[in-house]
Symmetry: C2
Subunit: 410 residues, 2 copies
């Protein structure tokens, strides 16, 4: 079908929050295009370009040529966390998308690959429609990425398994630390709207009494009084309590707890900052200190850690995640080279990974509109009451994160 | 010399903040005592006991018998982070030390091993003196441990290399993250009085422009105005700035910056809490946001992460640290079984680990008074100006942390 391809360059961008494997997807796209003959004499796909800091760099003519990078470099880059091309948090409006489209014309770009989350797939969709309206043949492809795991259709999203691996290992070690010097320990985990990453803390449990003892997800209404009571209940029973809290927890009216605890402390744009601050953890700490003091007369040791950006960049990726992220990139290149006009790549699970069924996944092309600007939430069967996750979630998540250490108890 | 040993039990405790390798030292003591014949018929050392939560458990008769643990279990325990026996933050006063001594009498303990930092070695020293005063033969040995690396005589302290490894890897990945979405990033690192762990962030640098761009240590006076100016200078030059700040930074009068920024917000005991809160990072964030806004008119993206307890417990220990921690435990058992009356174990470096000289270390017995209740600070040649560390520090630290990943740049 390659004869149907229009002549021009390909461009690849990495958008939104970086992950431990977003470079694997970048390398996958490059590899897939090279397998299809990109850059070789007579091939319709001429050069493989990278956008510096995503669409922002594209509109500022900041492009890097990736066509001739050798395999050793690509292999090393694929194992490097964060976005090697640079990323951006820009959310293009209509005028910005026009500029993106004109930059594509200017640089003779006919193949547009964008690695990112639901906002990025929406940018991809809009640029695609703009090109259509202008009668300019531009083929737009989205490659999934997000530690939040909140893309529709996908069983899971590249970036999530590695972040979940970090969270599980961190909770495992932190629970041992909390058992060693008992007290209340609150750990705040990333995830503005979807609780998957916070839920992954449950994978840390291997022995009776292991934390996390309470798990608070954005999908379940958070009540500060109930929170203190639950902590007191566990603390009275075990003499300690390890808690996983999503940074995005909200009350029954959908108001972020961070907003409620810091009324009037939003930034200049009116946005509540969730990551890159310890404020939520510290406020919950104070609630527990005050609450447990009132109940028992003595203040327990209460500490809060906010795991922060290490969750998405710590260099200990899940092997399955590395592999799938790279395959997703290659798959996008393959459907582009195969003549598809646009689309996103979805990861589908074809082997459960438990009950004797080995883990397997396949990739599929889906329409951009199926993922663009939509948010997936935790499946209802993944919850266990209001403060925990179910065995179904543990079965779902365990095969993704790779082997976890096993620690004996004295 | 075994015939000179008095008959009785041995007891081992783990005290203070846990580390990734404090269990390796515990296992080392057990192994060393078993090699010396402990628990075998006719051997003067009868049972090997563990204190639950250090001296607190000892005084409450909470002891666990370690004599018959098999090698597979011991190997697995040695690779487990945190303190398997449990630890305590209790700082025994005279009356408490009396109770410790009486617990030793009660349980026929004649060999007392205490794994911990300078406070723990002081407890060891006091108990030793008490036993002397009572004419009770008790042989007390201290095994070094602290992520702060602040024990005298020692080249470095078990626990530090693994924590330094985590800090170096975290800064490496976080610098890539910061380069990907530029802004100011402040990372707060453990270390109340000594800057070694914060200084280890410098090991993250492998390419020009890599962070950390500024390193703030407790040994150098911290001036908030100068801080903002330095950050502005780097930010203007690079468009980003990654900063390492010790949780223990203090002003020229020795007042902790945390205290100054949160006047009146100390806890019920008047102590300023440093770990387990994001407050210092958030306050420095606000300083930078306000300062850079005033200077340039636009507020840059400023984020702060506080690495927290993961620094001391994340399960990715330095192989050298694992090995030395276990050897230090064995050495303490060996000098006890060899007839020594008391002492601490010190790690001495006998091979530099750079300039073609392979890294090597040896252990030596030193007097308890040489480490008890004393704090080592960064050596003067480890500083480079006021906001960085020298090549001498990098040479010193690099061999300790094990192999670090290498990440290429696009």
């Amino acid at each position: 079908m390659a004869e149907r391809l229009i002549e021009g360059n390909a461009v690849i961008g990495q958008s939104g929050g970086p992950t431990a494997v977003i470079n694997a997807s970048l390398v996958g796209v490059v590899e897939g295009l090279k397998v299809a003959g990109a850059g070789q004499a007579g091939n319709p796909i001429k050069r493989i370009l990278g956008m510096r800091h995503a669409v922002r760099g594209l509109t500022e003519d900041r492009l890097v040529d990736l066509t001739d990078k050798d395999q050793d470099f690509l292999d090393a880059l694929a194992a490097t966390p964060s976005a090697g091309l640079g990323s951006t948090r820009d959310k293009p409006d209509a005028a910005y998308c026009e500029r993106i489209f004109h930059a594509c014309e200017k640089h003779d770009i006919r193949y547009f690959f964008y690695i990112g989350g639901n906002d990025s797939s929406d940018t991809c969709r809009i640029v695609n429609e703009l090109a259509d309206q202008h009668g300019y043949e531009l083929r737009c492809f989205h490659v999934p990425k997000t530690v939040d795991n909140d893309l529709m259709v996908n069983d899971h999203t590249p970036g999530f398994p590695s972040a979940a691996r970090f969270v599980a290992k961190a909770f495992m070690a932190d629970s041992l630390d909390n058992a060693s010097i008992p007290g209340v320990k609150i750990n705040v985990v990333m995830g503005r709207h979807a609780g998957f990453l916070t839920a992954a803390s449950a994978l840390a449990r291997t022995h009776d009494g292991d934390g996390p003892h309470l798990i608070y997800l954005p999908e379940k209404a958070f009540d500060t009084e109930d929170f203190v009571q639950q902590v007191a209940r566990i603390y009275d029973r075990l003499g300690r309590c390890q808690i996983a809290v999503s940074e995005g927890v909200q009350d029954k009216d959908g108001v972020a707890i961070t907003t409620k605890l810091f009324e009037g402390e939003t930034d200049a744009h009116g946005n509540v900052q969730l990551s890159g601050t310890g404020a939520l953890g510290d406020a919950l700490s104070t609630l527990v200190k005050d609450g447990l003091k009132t109940a028992s007369g003595a203040a327990p040791r209460v500490r809060a850690d906010t795991f922060g950006y290490l969750q998405r960049c710590y260099p200990d990726a899940s092997p399955i995640d590395q592999d799938e992220a790279r395959r997703a990139g290659r798959y996008a290149a393959m459907i582009a080279a195969g003549g598809d006009m646009d689309g996103s790549v979805a990861i589908l699970r074809t082997g459960k990974g438990y009950d004797g069924d080995a883990y397997k996944s396949e990739l599929d092309r889906i329409d951009l509109t199926e993922v663009a600007a939509k948010t997936r939430h935790m499946d209802p069967e993944f919850f266990q009451g209001d403060h925990d996750v179910s065995q179904a979630f543990i079965d779902y998540c365990t095969p993704l994160v790779g082997e976890l250490p096993k620690f004996p108890r004295l």
